[in-house]
Amino acid sequence: MQPFFVSEEKLARQAYRYDGRYRLAALVLIVAVLCQIPFLGWLYFQNRIREQEENRRGAALRQNGQITSELGSLKEAEFQLGQIRAWEPILRGRIPSSAILGAIEQTIHSNVVLSRITLEAANYRLISLGSGSFRVPTTYLITLRGEQKGPDPGIWAKFVAGLLSRLPPGSDVVTSTAGKEESLKGSSLGCRAILQAQANGNYFPLGLTRIDAEENL
């Protein structure tokens, strides 16, 4: 039948249904589109993975920001801790003089009388702290002067050896002398000894108490 009163536009559109060339073109087009489905699927999953990664990155960045802001509030404490840590070599460079005096008191022989005890810092090293610098000793010299009753010089030597044994390892006797002096009467001997002790030695056996609890600071 002739296409009675059907518009040209409608007839042109109907050619898509019945003309073999259009049907072939549509078949090729549909097959081509179907061939893209795996690629589109891959693209879809890649997109999802990228979105997940972006979400994770965003979350990490937010967490990083949060940590940074929390760190900001800890800066002051960190600075103060840094300052305390900087004091460590200075504090380590001290010597417990009272403990040394206690050791002398405990080891001294009854025939020995000390007239002078001198503690001198020696072998300084420079430590920078804040805007300035500190001279911190690494060794101390313990000078003992006195006299002993009786002519046996072994008493002084025994006292000095006893004191050295109480001092931390690394300590040494620099000089130790016991001899007749003019100023002394009778059988008394003048005695002199210089001992060297390490600043950072272990003085705990001398009766020091370890500070290991925060409340003891």
Partner: protein, 330 residues
Amino acid sequence: MIGDISAFVREMPLRFYLSGGFFSNQESMIAFHVGETEIEALISYKKKPIGFEDELHRDPDAPPTLSYGQVYRPAINGRKVSAKLASRYRVPSRCQHLFVVDAPAEEVFLNLFTLERLRRRTVEEALADLRQAPGQILSGWSRNEFRWHILDASLLLSGNPRVGSEDQILVMGLSEGVCLPLEAWSHDQGAAIVGIVPLAVAVLAWCNAVLPTGSRHSIVLVAGETGVVVGIIKERRLTNLLKVQTIEDALANVRRNADEFALEDPAMYLWYSKPPTISDDELTQEGLIIIDQEHLRATLGGPLVLMQSTGKRTSHDGPIPHLLNWLAKQ
């Protein structure tokens, strides 16, 4: 070229292709008789009639009746009526539509001319001029919103008309207001359109093909809902055409112009879609052969057995099912 490809991609009937249209040319055909308020449809497949719907206008998605005019808006929701019919009568959902419209007289132009009288050399030339400037070819015609078609006097609905300059041709015009809503509805249904045929032309073509118009001069009265068209057929060729209001007017006109028509012992046929006000007896007394159930059964040899919407198979001897069935086979 790119525009064509783009238009093809945009407009290609994907649903048609995917429902098997790539590899099969077989489509079901739904032939509609569209009246002023009523619509009937005959569903056929492979040129065999399957079912008949005599009250399709009750469906909310039915084609626009002629009373809707240009205000028709296609329904959007719900299942399409074409899909429903295809499913009901178990035919492929890919379908074609054919519309037989009983349009009001002012929406249809029908007249016989010769190419010489139209001052054109070929049918194609006459048709092109009619579509471009109908006022230049039909003197006094001022309406541009018409679609045009030309048939030769043998009223063959298929094939291109081959006529000489003095042979009669039937110039047909149908208002855009009738065609466009049907085309839009059909597009919305995803169907192809075979054609939109005015009722008078369809009936005259059917009469010329089925009745013995070759052996006897025939006067065919086609009584539609809004008027009567009289066609005079001699030796299977349409020679005269009249448009009148009533059957009485038609009879009076034929008698008045009997000499001009030069009819020899004519047979007068009356085809009507709805029974006229005049009784059959009176019409018979006037010498009219009414194309009714009896006549159709005698002429065609048997009734048309079609399935109804209820699923029951029923004999249909009415003129409209026979007309739609014949048209669907063309």
